[in-house]
């Protein structure tokens, strides 16, 4: 079964949203794109952390045709992923539309090599289950799935955005020295250290050696300091300091002095005695009352309790 208007358009949309979601969830990770067509695997973007560059390259490489070669693709991916340090995860996600693979050599060798290089291969198929795909995913610890329709394809691709659980041996903690560069003024003209080109604005300055780099996260070309932007790190902090679960306030209790509006959105809250529908919840820490909508928003997106944040901060974060 083909997707409408055609497979490549549907896959490109799924990949585009995957790229955005991937960088939203893994802001410090890198990603690269490879196309397989006419029996050849071609690298269209190098491993990097800029979603827009990937999407642009993806949109300009929309042709398709010829046989697909799984072996060529895996060999190229292995080569690309070889530069990742040993504690990084290496993953390959293949979106495979063909029903066969046309390889120059023995694909089993490639499979063993991938396994040896600790590369996790996952495949989302578009047509039917293929034995070699299943074997590859099983052997390398990945997931193999076949899409039934367009929305299922999107779901399957999106499942690969959250990072896989850390393996015990790779979870050796280390303290990494990092710099938080300053973004220079939009009008400043400077020579960037990474491409050795003159750039106008939009550059970052390494705090240690003052060299200019174009893009974050990266490593300073001059002093080898790892440079990140602090918002990249801060994206994951809500996992470290979760908001306490709000408790429902029972209205049949004889509370006379309940606040009558939600602390967050100022909407009316159900008052004891009235038969209005709705739930009233309270933060166990600051005792402020919230409506159900705010409860959902606070826990799913905001990750801050407005009530607790409105109190003077203690010494902890």
């Amino acid at each position: 079964m083909d997707f409408r208007p055609n497979n490549i358009a549907v896959v490109a949309n799924a990949v585009e949203s995957f790229i955005r979601e991937f960088f939203d969830q893994n802001p410090l990770s890198h990603l690269g794109l490879i196309t397989i067509r006419n029996g050849v695997a071609k690298r269209i973007t190098e491993l990097s952390g800029n979603p827009e560059a990937h999407i642009r390259a993806l949109r300009s490489n929309m042709e398709c045709g010829g046989d697909a070669s799984l072996q060529n693709a895996l060999d190229l991916a292995r080569e690309v992923l070889a530069q990742i340090p040993s504690y990084g995860y290496r993953e390959v996600l293949i979106i495979y539309s063909a029903l066969s693979t046309c390889d120059p050599g023995d694909i089993m060798d490639t499979l063993t090599k991938c396994k040896g290089a600790k590369i996790r291969c996952s495949i989302v198929g578009l047509s039917a289950e293929i034995y070699i795909c299943k074997l590859l995913c099983e052997q390398t610890g990945g997931v193999y799935s076949v899409a039934l329709n367009e929305s299922h394809l999107n779901d399957l691709v999106f499942e690969h955005a959250p990072p896989p659980p850390a393996l015990a041996e790779s979870a050796i903690a280390s303290l990494v020295r990092m710099g938080f560069p300053e973004r220079v003024s939009e009008d400043a003209v400077a020579l960037c250290a990474c491409h050795k080109q003159v750039k106008v604005g939009g550059c970052y300055t390494c705090p240690r050696c003052r060299a200019r780099v174009c893009e974050l996260p990266t490593e300073c070309n001059i002093c080898q300091l790892t440079l990140v932007s602090s918002p990249h790190l801060a994206r994951s902090y809500h996992h470290l300091f979760p908001v306490p679960v709000f408790e429902e306030v029972l209205l049949n209790l004889a509370h006379s002095k309940l606040p009558n509006v939600c602390f967050g959105c100022q909407q009316d809250l159900p008052i004891g005695g009235s038969k209005e529908l709705g739930v009233r919840v309270a933060c166990p820490k600051c005792k402020q009352h919230f409506c159900f909508d705010c409860d959902v928003y606070i826990h799913e997106s905001l990750h801050n309790c407005p009530g607790c944040e409105s109190l003077p901060h203690e010494s902890n974060v």
């Binding site: 504690y87 979106i95 602390f263």
Partner: protein, 300 residues
């Protein structure tokens, strides 16, 4: 207020203004500068005029004001609640001033928990931002054609590093909901957090060089709606300060040590992570990056 569909939604705005009424800042300022410089009265006057101008620019515009001090923050004005709580149909400005007065009085009356031993002078920006976003979320969820929301943050006091995580959480949430956060550092120093907030959400950051002329800045720069901004030459940011604050001493740092497991930031080398309890092994920290996956997508 009735909503009509025939008016382009781009021109209708909902502005939530966060107002820093930190008594330490304004008190010190009046002592130091005497009669010169921006006083709290002038500041309030400009804000009232600004709220009025927002409401006058379009009949459907909405404005809300959140005041935040050192011990609490609260909504002090909401143009939607016209004449609901007040028996008299008073003007927006008198209502705003009345509620600000009430807010300042209650804030004065709040008990100091730490008996002056450890006076926390920073303003509660994170709380005010969270309140504003909850309030805007209600507009976004209402379903009907709604005004374009944005937040204007007028911060006076310098950044409070202990609020870093909370402020960033709020900023990311605003980014996801496409709510621009305009920021204006009224005080003497540039604010790294406000710069980051504006940069991430696509708002405008400005630090007025002459704070006494704040009204001019407010009307010329921050009163413009999102649609008009595309045609205007607004102040361009003079760089963004991406510094973070460390978890151990709450200092703002430009270079630090990051735990590879939970990404906590520390300003000095340490033997274990205070957030996730990971023990840092003795081997040299590796040079590049953190443990995070790297993926290659293959298209066929």
């Amino acid at each position: 207020m009735a909503k009509s569909n025939d008016i382009g939604q781009d021109d209708v705005s909902q502005v939530v203004i966060l107002l820093d009424v930190n008594p330490y800042f304004w008190g010190r300022k009046s002592i130091e500068s005497g009669s010169s410089g921006l006083t709290f009265n002038q500041f309030m006057q400009s804000v009232v005029l600004f709220v009025n101008s927002i409401l006058l620019l379009n009949n459907l515009n909405e404005a809300a004001v959140v005041a935040f001090g050192t011990r609490s923050c609260r909504f002090v004005f909401n143009s939607k609640l016209q004449g609901r709580n007040d028996k008299l149909h008073s003007s927006p400005s008198s209502r705003l001033l009345k509620h600000i007065d009430e807010f300042l009085n209650t804030e004065d009356a709040l008990p100091t928990s730490m008996e002056q031993t450890n006076i926390n002078e920073s303003s509660l920006l994170s709380g005010a931002l969270s309140l504003a976003l909850c309030y805007i979320q209600r507009t976004l969820k209402s379903g009907q054609p709604h005004p374009q929301p944005r937040v204007l943050c007028l911060q006076c006091k310098s950044d409070a590093p202990q609020q870093y995580v909370a402020i960033m959480n709020a900023v990311f949430s605003a980014q996801r909901s496409m709510i621009p956060i305009d920021t204006c550092a009224v005080g003497t120093e540039h604010s790294a957090f406000l710069q980051q907030a504006a940069h991430i959400t696509g708002g405008i950051y400005m630090k007025p060089s002459m704070p006494e002329g704040i009204f001019q800045y407010l009307t010329v720069v921050f009163a413009t709606d999102l649609h008009s901004r595309r045609f205007l030459q607004l102040p361009r940011p003079a760089g963004v300060d991406f510094r973070a604050s460390c978890f151990c001493h709450k200092k703002t740092i430009d270079m630090g040590y990051i735990c590879s497991v939970c990404l906590s930031i520390f300003c000095k080398k340490r033997s274990s992570c205070s957030t996730c309890g990971a023990n840092f092994s003795q081997r040299q920290p590796t040079s590049i990056g953190l443990k995070r996956k790297s993926a290659t997508i293959t298209l066929s």
